[in-house]
């Protein structure tokens, strides 16, 4: 590891420890690291948007290639800034209406197809068989119906309906449990990554 890398990784190791110090209690080191992340991220994102979007999508078409059609999205973008004025804020609604109108028109049909029709199709189109796949699909159907019944409040949850509702809450809890386990794994992965980084830094500093 070169001296430059060693210094860079040293700063990274210091900032990692600054962030971890919050686990004990809030302190100036944590605040410094937190605000540094926010500041660097904001500056980076602003410049990225400027060079990869404003320049090729606004400046070059309008001022270099004289493609006048680009004036429309540019004006729609500019009037979004009227949100800062109470008097003129209403003008920005045209941009928002334009964006939401297009978004809704495109999204509604695709969302219905993706989230409803395809999922319904996959749920009900199960093979009538007693092999593992058939039993699994049958379980899916039963679990979906039981979960739906749990959230159906127009009928008292008594008798067979109550049993199905009870099954529904168990299905939901199993789902939450799986989600929790994977969430723990994800959070531990972040910690492990930092521990491995610190180990590598120590080796580079003293051992390598």
């Amino acid at each position: 590891m070169s001296t430059g890398q060693l210094i860079g990784n040293g700063i990274a190791a210091f900032l990692t420890l600054c962030i971890f110090s919050f686990l004990y209690k809030d302190n100036p080191f944590y605040k410094f690291a937190e605000r540094l992340v926010a500041g660097v991220a904001t500056g980076y994102f602003t410049m990225l948007l400027f060079w990869t979007n404003f320049i090729p999508k606004v400046w070059e078409p309008l001022y270099e290639r004289h493609e006048i059609i680009y004036i429309i999205p540019t004006i729609l973008g500019i009037i979004m800034w009227t949100r800062f004025s109470k008097k003129w804020a209403w003008v920005s609604r045209y941009s928002i209406a334009f964006y939401i109108g297009i978004g809704s028109g495109v999204a509604v049909t695709l969302a219905l197809y993706t989230y409803l029709f395809k999922q319904l199709q996959a749920t009900i189109a199960f093979p009538i068989s007693m092999d593992v796949a058939g039993i699994n699909q049958l379980l899916v159907v039963v679990a979906v119906l039981a979960s739906l019944i749990y959230f159906f409040f127009s009928t008292p949850h008594k008798g067979a309906f109550g049993v199905a509702s009870k099954l529904g809450i168990y299905v939901i809890m199993i789902g939450f449990g799986a989600g929790f386990g994977l969430t723990v794994m994800g959070r531990i992965a972040l910690l492990v990554n930092r521990v491995i980084f610190l180990k590598g830094y120590l080796i580079a500093l003293f051992g390598g």
Binding site: K118, G179, L182, V184, I188, V192
Partner: protein, 293 residues
Amino acid sequence: MNIFEKIMKVDRRWVYLAIGLAVSIPAVYELVATYILKKENTTINIPITPSPEVKKVYDFVESMKPGEHLFICVDYDPSSMAELNPMTTAIVNQAFAKDIKIIFVTLSQFGPGLVEQITSSLAAAHNKVRGEDYAFLGYRPYPAITILAMGVDFRVPFPEDYYGTPLDSLPIMDGIKNFNNLKGVIELTSGNTADFWITYGNGRYGFPLALGITGVMSANYYQYLSSDQLLGIIPGVKGAAEYEELVGFPGDGKAQMAYQVIAHAVILVFIIISNIAFFGTRKRKGGMEGGAQ
């Protein structure tokens, strides 16, 4: 205050400390074994069995012929590197080893740096040339609009690649207009761009789509496997380790598994202890209330 009540009121910082120490055990072991005991190969290997959903992604890439195009979307930021970088690295290693051409795009504002980091190191290792063997088209905001525009022509949202070269000047883009000219898309994400790819990508254009996602997200996307909207899923660091096992490339995913096993064991112990304490205190309170009656 009995033992159960004491456990229920323990300062949570002791739990943080215990987890921190538990996660440090493999690191300390490796340091001690390497530098004090002078042992070789001190990495703790955890046996890994690839799951079907991960193997489907691997098989899909494996079924591609040299020269065919794979689209990889790197939609995560440094805060998710721990989970997603290992799987990205494993997939790119597999694809480059098979001479598959890769087109990278990112819909995450912090993605460009990650793509450059991955491509620069792996392209050098596999002797791959930018523009010929792989291309990085860059970053665009608004994922839905960008995906829909790419479905028409990659040149609409990306007239130039990230480095300012017109797409028509890149040899890798010869004959590549939109998703119809690719074998498939692998989306590596830590956010809701997965939904955009499922809805506006697979839903609108019907191309084969696989996801590499963080563990937190995994439970929300398995239903798309059974509906064939996804060809496979690589869930979290466990999925990354499985993919590395399949590729035969031991990377950060497998390295993390020993740490994960110890941390999970400690968390399980905490869950059992806290549940015993919880029911113990509840029983005691119930008994006291019963006595009062």
